[in-house]
């Protein structure tokens, strides 16, 4: 292991830092995160920012598995994981946080056990529940960034609207068959920053768009998109690079083509537009529809 003296790391990462954050790292932390700390864009300060970050993952499935494992490995200090489902055999083709040995156990338990096996230094809070109008804002209050890895449209719109109302940054990914989409939504960050409804104003009518359990999904596609989602979360925490806010990444795995499309706020958006009518979550009904094995 290539170890640098602690002081050197902190001094190097401290450019422009104005104090207030705990920059003390144990020898184990320095060793564990050394490849991050070596990055000029991360450094000691960035690693401390990751340790102080609070990120909520909704869905411990195909997207949530790599997302959780990479965020935990990266040292994101507080992670919440929402899922009310148990591990099913049909999950294991893509939901790599779970194992054959964890069949039948709650997904939050199975995934957290796997993530803690990678990094026991991070706190991971299980939320074995289904988000609904009655609990979503309370759960969101403990976190700064929310990641959508769910597999049903009612929950996706509930999460988006709750993020707009609570001013939480939403890093959202979706998959189906061989396709993936990704964007970051933070309309609270200023003009030019759209929300999910600026891309898709309303859920599609029932039956018009299939779920993964109906249409299938290539397992590795969820791995790529969940890993891209983890990358964008880390960028948002660190404030580095170009945010995906205002852009949508679209990936067609069959043609092996990525495209990045501009997305501007929809002036008619009911959630974040100038004449927004969304003031609370009362328009959302019961989201506890059938759980798709994400």
């Amino acid at each position: 292991m290539w170890l640098l003296p602690q002081g050197a790391l902190l001094v190097r990462g401290a450019g422009g830092y104005d104090g207030g954050m705990n920059l003390d790292f144990s020898e184990d932390e320095i060793s564990r995160y050394s490849r991050h700390i070596l990055l000029r864009e991360v450094g000691g300060v960035g690693q401390a920012q990751l340790r102080e970050a609070r990120v909520l993952l909704v869905g411990a499935g195909g997207l949530g598995s790599p997302l959780l494992m990479y965020l935990a490995a990266a040292g994101v200090g507080t992670i919440g994981l929402v899922d009310d489902d148990v591990v099913d055999l049909s999950n294991l083709q893509r939901q790599i946080a779970h194992t054959t040995g964890s069949l039948g156990t709650p997904k939050v338990e199975s995934a957290i056990e796997r993530a803690h096996a990678i990094n026991p230094l991070v706190r991971i809070a299980p939320h074995r529940t289904r988000l609904g109008v009655e609990n979503i804002l309370e759960v969101f209050a403990e976190y700064d960034i929310v990641c959508d890895g769910t597999d049903n449209f009612p929950t996706r719109f509930l999460i988006s609207d709750a993020c707009v109302l609570a001013k939480k940054t939403l890093v959202s990914a979706a998959v189906l068959r061989f396709d993936g989409q990704l964007s970051t939504f933070k309309p609270h960050a200023g003009e030019g920053c759209p929300c999910y409804r600026c891309l898709y104003p309303a859920p599609p009518p029932d039956g018009l768009v299939p779920t993964c359990s109906e249409a299938g999904v290539l397992g590795a596609v969820t791995g790529v998109m969940g890993t891209l989602q983890a990358t964008e979360v880390l960028k948002e925490i660190l404030g580095i690079g170009e945010s995906m806010s205002g852009r949508v990444l679209v990936w067609d795995a069959l043609s092996a083509r990525f495209r990045t499309i501009k997305l501007r706020p929809d002036p008619a958006c009911i959630a974040c537009g100038p004449n927004a009518t969304l003031k609370d979550l009362s328009g959302h009904g019961d989201t506890a529809g059938p759980a798709c094995a994400i």
Partner: protein, 72 residues
């Protein structure tokens, strides 16, 4: 420009004649797509759904249909 003088557009990578004034909404209707399950990319930017009916296509436009997906 083709013989009709109206020019061509590209939809999902395929050239298509623009035979007369046409909006994004009109294009979706012409190709039989329900606008509630897609997003439309025109010249590398998403067209807000609220502007489909008012967005007139121009010769040379490149359009891609982005399918609404929500799997996890």
């Amino acid at each position: 420009m083709n013989d009709a003088g109206m020019g061509m557009i590209t939809v999902n990578g395929e050239a298509r004649p623009l035979d007369g004034p046409m909006t994004v909404a009109g294009l979706l209707a012409a190709i039989g797509l329900d606008g509630r399950k897609v997003a439309v990319e025109r010249n590398e930017a998403i067209v807000p759904r609220s502007e489909y009916a008012a967005t007139r296509l121009e010769p040379g436009d490149s359009l891609e249909i982005v399918h609404f997906i929500g799997g996890g």
